[in-house]
Symmetry: C2
Subunit: 328 residues, 2 copies
Amino acid sequence: MDHDLTVIGLDAGGTSTRAVLVDSGAHCLGYGIGGRGNPTSAGPERAADGVMDAIEKSLRGSGKSLPDVAVITASMAGKRARNDETWLTDRLEQAGFRGRLTFESDLLAAYYSGSAEPFGYALVSGTGACVIRVADGDIDGTGDGLGWLLGDRGSGFWIGQRVARAVVEDLDGTGPATSLTPALIEALGLQPDDTRTEGRSQTLALVVSALYDRAPIELASFAILAFSDDDDPVATGILRAAGEHLADTLSAVYTTPATVVVGGSVLARPGPVREAFDARLGDRAAALDVRLVSDGAVGAGLLALRAAGVAPTTAALQTLATTLAAHR
Amino acid sequence: MDHDLTVIGLDAGGTSTRAVLVDSGAHCLGYGIGGRGNPTSAGPERAADGVMDAIEKSLRGSGKSLPDVAVITASMAGKRARNDETWLTDRLEQAGFRGRLTFESDLLAAYYSGSAEPFGYALVSGTGACVIRVADGDIDGTGDGLGWLLGDRGSGFWIGQRVARAVVEDLDGTGPATSLTPALIEALGLQPDDTRTEGRSQTLALVVSALYDRAPIELASFAILAFSDDDDPVATGILRAAGEHLADTLSAVYTTPATVVVGGSVLARPGPVREAFDARLGDRAAALDVRLVSDGAVGAGLLALRAAGVAPTTAALQTLATTLAAHR
């Protein structure tokens, strides 16, 4: 083992990018957060800005510089990001990087943030929702992750779209009254207007217009409203259905009991999603070792070490998790 | 009554525009079909082209020209089209029109294509889905019509999106096998590829990529696949759910028994949608007088006459329907 080995793991996401500077003993030497790092959603230039910013911050005060780094491993969603790497390689070369750049799935980084075992599962429900089964240390099964239009059942988008639908159905008279309605009207910054045209309230027209003026994916931002009222049966019903969907997606890739690393905001909160998730899994829930992780930074670091020839171990995971926590 | 009165009714839709040239006795003097006529979806210039083309064709061989036309009534979806009328008024003036231009809802035109009674309902399920209640001859209640992202339950888009979701879930292993899968793969012009990466078939990646490369609304074009296999339980389940949603939307605006004018392709076909629609309405189904209409052309003509002071009657509807049929 090269004791001078230094690597950087990147957990590059749709909203922010984390860079973890790690030595061969899995000690965190530096940590930095940058902007959006996915070239598919943010565009290549902006994503490169986000990644480079995170890298520079991780090096600051570490005594290391980019020419010292042997491997950078970028964990991110989407195969497309990996087909053409020049969006990132050019910028890294300009900054003095002479090592190897490799790519991994953000879901595998989430997995290694909670487990270094060669077999297990990761379930991430943030804006999107996806489950992977890991065998021999790599992904060998995937469930959902099909995007907002075709899948991502139980994700933040899925919940947010159902919140929006429940509100317009309430205002339309085709669905039950719900406390989500005043909450969404306030979140949209609208003033209720009970004027009716063709039997339809002006408030409904305002809400519909405001929602269509945004990109569809932004409906994910309204998921939080469903978590805000424990006593509203519509909100609780949406959250319970999300938990059941996530359990079903896990069940689709499930083979034998193991650790389930859980990431993303949807299952991080106690309440109806988690309760319905456990209930739907039934006996399986007790056999699974569920571990919540806040993001994929630790796993991104372990994957960068792996790319440099240092196999992930439980001891390395613990070392990196502990030393990284000191940098956050 | 002005016996020389000549009006044009426009049924201007997202894919085509129908123009009906009508005299005071509700006789059709000419009929023309043009391109897309909705300025919100097609853009103002293209929509004006579609409308003007339909108008010119309706006048051809009628012995009438635009200066003879007293009223043009454009029936179309969307309030926005009516806020700024210059997209159409400028072109009409250039072409010699000196009369009045008025706008009506396309749903009201659908209603008057099947009924001239002052009270009743219209249910249209094409790409979108909406129900209106008509009282005193005008819309006084509306259900759904909330667009593809927030509503339109039971519409062509709704069915097409569920077809696409069922196929990706089948390929993903999170949903049951369905004959919709080979049908959609063929419709997309793809070659199945059983290579697996990270436990996921290349076919799934190809289908997902092809579907996200289109505008979301184009999922509506896959609704037809659900109607193509009576023996597939997944397809039948989607169609039954669509029928139930449409019945629920009608029930939301229902007050007393009357005629229900039904437009759009979804309820035009016999089979699971209609069966589930009737079953869900229960006793109400027997009390309703359901009349299918192929489009809103007849109603658009009656609404143009109404704008010119000629009230709709059942006799006028029958005259226009009969004389228009001779022009189609």
